[in-house]
């Protein structure tokens, strides 16, 4: 019998199934009853997505995790991007990122557009390691936990580009900010097959005497531009 059949039969036997043998310890279990799942938790927060309360909370929570946050208007965004990335040397951006965001970037910052076709694509891990920063948009953000989610959309790119460079600049639009995790998950559920990265501050470790150190293997610096 295949391992698959064996394991499934053991599971069935553990749940009281007959004619499927026993578990490895020779047991046949009891059949569990029907389980009702209560759902009394909050499906949404008190405040509307993108409301001032939600934005304030997101900023507070991100800063609590040592992320650098700036609230800017649509018009101010390109200059704010240029200011953060001015000293980065080089930056990688996903193929679908707004061209306008990069307009005021100083000429000495090399921009790599991560397309699937083109002279410097696809960038390998070692190539990415030599790039100073990454600029992406986001899919959704949750204020209560200070979490930003990327789901690999054209303005966010494949996972490697937002992982290897040491600085991540992430642009979040106000209308993408929800208060609670259930609200965020239900937005993401539209495309569950997309690879997702949930980001709550820069990488961190507490493995040495529980002393928190920000910045380990993922980007050591996280900048967030919140566009209102």
């Amino acid at each position: 019998m295949s391992a698959r059949e064996d394991v499934l039969n053991r599971v069935r036997a553990a749940l009281g199934g007959s004619g499927v043998g026993t578990t490895a310890a020779g047991k046949i279990g009891t059949t569990p009853g029907v389980v009702e799942v209560p759902r009394a938790y909050r499906a949404a927060g008190e405040h509307e997505p993108g409301s001032p309360e939600v934005l304030t909370q997101l900023v507070d929570r991100l800063e609590d995790y040592q992320a650098h946050v700036q609230v800017v208007s649509e018009d101010e965004l390109p200059d704010a991007v240029a200011e953060v990335l001015g000293g980065a040397g080089s930056v990688v951006v996903p193929s679908g990122l707004e061209e306008a965001w990069l307009a005021p970037l100083p000429g000495d910052v090399v921009v790599h557009r991560d397309t699937h076709a083109g002279p410097d694509s696809p960038l390998g891990a070692t190539d990415l390691d030599a790039i100073g920063a990454v600029l992406t948009a986001a899919r959704v953000a949750c204020s209560e936990t200070g979490t930003i989610v990327l789901d690999g959309g054209p303005d966010q790119g494949r996972r490697a580009i937002s992982l290897v460079p040491d600085v991540h600049l992430c642009v979040v639009r106000a209308d993408q900010v929800v208060e609670t995790i259930p609200e965020a998950v239900r937005i993401l559920a539209a495309h569950p097959e997309r690879p997702q990265t949930w980001i709550s501050g820069p990488s961190a470790t507490s493995d040495i005497e529980l002393d928190r150190v920000e910045g380990v293997h993922g980007p050591r610096t996280l900048h967030v531009l919140l566009v209102t």
Binding site: A3, D6, V37, R42, D207, D211, V213
Partner: protein
């Protein structure tokens, strides 16, 4: 069912297998790598006796558990619907167990539809073989690993090493443990038994490329690990991970982490192998909204952990282009077959129960002789090893684990999926004692009970016995405690102190005071 509150005096000692000698030769007092990651060393009481003597360990642990307890309590208090989330989490997991065959088939179908390959493993040996064959097929002599309890449970690293493949742990704490050739002592922070000075010494001696002027400042130590692992991440061909959750209705897998080593392993190598226990399922994608709230707050005491990765099979052009999922039984179906004990499978490995346990806080993780320490380990390890005698084997060290508890119930209070650990502990104790009955020609426990029953069935005999007991008053120390009683009571005081008997019995006291009252007493 009877309740067994104390450890019966009949506990067998497993002969010292040289563990003590080996640790003397090891500069960091390591626990040698066991053949069985779910059953190593001495029985819990014997191991605890040793670890209790280690003051540095107790200090490190006390500090660590106190800190995480405080953080957890603060972020859990912030959540107005915490109890409702726990209720849902508990019920969802119960539902998973009830529908496990269907959900497993559904997960397999969805992972396969998205280009993944699903393997099934009856036990550790089979899972190890599957992972090894995949690595060999890729020509890899090195794999990078994300911290995973499932791969620790099957002893994957040791197996790969035997096959000439180096498994590199990339979580900082796991790296510390691996470099020290030690065993982890906590589910979440495996190097919790180490302080910063020890970690610096380990890095300097074993890392190979640690800066010679490395200090013991945590930031510097973390940066040394970053530099050490960076090259490995960038060049690795094969990664091995566990999974926190597997979503049946979409085939999505989730890994929750902090350092970014998980993202590195899950993103950069061409091939990813994920080993997941069959109980890690959740039915639907939206159920993540419950568990991704419960887990981080219970585990690290953060509102959310820095990074969570979700992936579904293979995504063309993004991440590993070859994905294997190994579904592991390894005793889980034996746990599932137990009507009381099966809820141990609800565990999401947050480790909150370790941090609140007064026993764990003092003895540390190594005393449990399993990769699963603490209260959850005390119910999970014996049950996972049931087929080889873990619950009721007369000579099995794991059968002593359910006694590694004061039954104070703190573990139940903090469990995000409401596993009633104390009740399962009591049930396992009862079964262990029942299984032992009749195995010994003279059972001192039963003999004592029989004698007690003879004494207590007669007032005169009881009075005499009471007066005889007051003779033990002199055995007490200044604090009124007997820590070493003469035989046969020595069996009791081997594992605990005994309050010295008073110098008179209640009957004697009563007789005197009744007399006093009749003489025109105070009331």
């Amino acid at each position: 069912m009877s309740t067994f509150l104390g450890l019966p005096g009949l506990r067998r000692r497993v002969p010292d297998d040289g563990a003590t000698a080996a640790s003397a030769a090891e500069p960091w007092g390591a626990v040698p790598h066991p053949d069985e990651p779910l059953r190593w060393g001495e029985s819990f009481p014997a191991a605890a006796k040793h670890t209790l003597k280690n003051e540095q360990l107790r200090k490190n642990l006390g500090h660590a558990t106190r800190t995480i307890r405080g953080k957890r309590a603060a972020v859990v208090d912030e959540v107005p619907d915490w109890e409702a989330l726990r209720d849902t989490g508990s019920a969802v997991k119960e539902q998973v167990m009830a529908q496990l065959p269907d959900l497993l088939a559904q997960l397999e179908e969805n992972v396969t539809a998205r280009g993944g390959v699903v393997h099934w493993a009856r036990d550790a040996a089979e899972a190890n073989r599957i992972v090894t064959e995949i690595a060999q097929a890729k020509g890899a002599d090195e794999v990078v690993k994300v911290k995973s309890m499932a791969t620790q449970e099957i002893g994957l690293n040791e197996h790969l090493a035997d096959e000439g493949i180096a498994a590199i742990e990339t979580d900082l704490a796991e790296l510390i443990v691996q470099l020290a050739d030690d065993m982890p002592s906590h589910i979440l922070v495996p190097a919790i038994h180490r302080n910063r000075a020890e970690i610096r010494d380990i890095f300097l001696a074993r890392m190979g490329d640690a800066p010679p002027d490395l200090s013991d400042v945590p930031r510097e130590l973390a940066m040394a690990a970053r530099a050490h692992l960076r090259r490995k991440f960038l060049s690795a061909k094969v990664a091995v991970s566990g999974a926190n959750f597997g979503v049946a209705d979409t085939g999505t897998l989730a890994v929750v982490e902090s350092e970014g080593n998980g993202r590195m392993c899950l993103t950069l190598p061409e091939t990813l192998v994920t080993v997941m226990g069959i109980e890690k399922l959740i039915p639907t994608y939206t159920d993540l909204e419950v568990f991704l709230q419960l887990l981080p707050r219970s585990s690290t005491g953060e509102r959310m952990n820095p990074y969570t990765s979700l992936w579904t099979g293979v995504t063309p052009g993004d991440g590993p282009q070859e994905f294997h999922l190994v579904l592991l039984d390894n005793g889980r179906t034996d746990v599932l077959a137990d009507e009381v004990g099966r809820s141990a499978l609800h565990c999401i490995r947050c480790s909150a129960c370790l941090n609140v346990c007064p026993v764990y806080e003092r003895v540390g993780g190594h005393a449990y002789g399993s990769v699963y320490p603490g209260p959850i380990g005390a119910i999970l390890t014996p049950q996972l090893t049931a087929a080889s005698g873990g619950v009721s084997g007369a000579d099995d060290v794991n059968a002593s684990l359910p006694y590694a508890s004061t039954l104070c119930g703190a573990c139940y209070d903090v469990c995000p999926v409401k596993i009633d650990i104390p009740s399962i502990l009591v049930d396992l104790r009862a079964r262990e004692v029942d299984a032992d009955r009749g195995k010994h020609k003279v059972d001192p426990w039963r003999a004592a009970m029989k004698a007690a029953s003879w004494v207590m069935s007669d007032g005169g005999r009881f009075g005499l016995a009471g007066r005889a007991a007051t003779l033990g008053h002199g055995l007490g120390g200044r604090d009124g405690v007997i820590s070493k009683a003469p035989p046969p009571a020595s069996a009791w005081t081997r594992d605990r102190d005994l309050p010295a008997p008073p110098d008179e019995t209640f009957r004697q006291w009563m007789a005197e005071h009744e007399h006093g009252e009749q003489d025109g007493g105070e009331r």
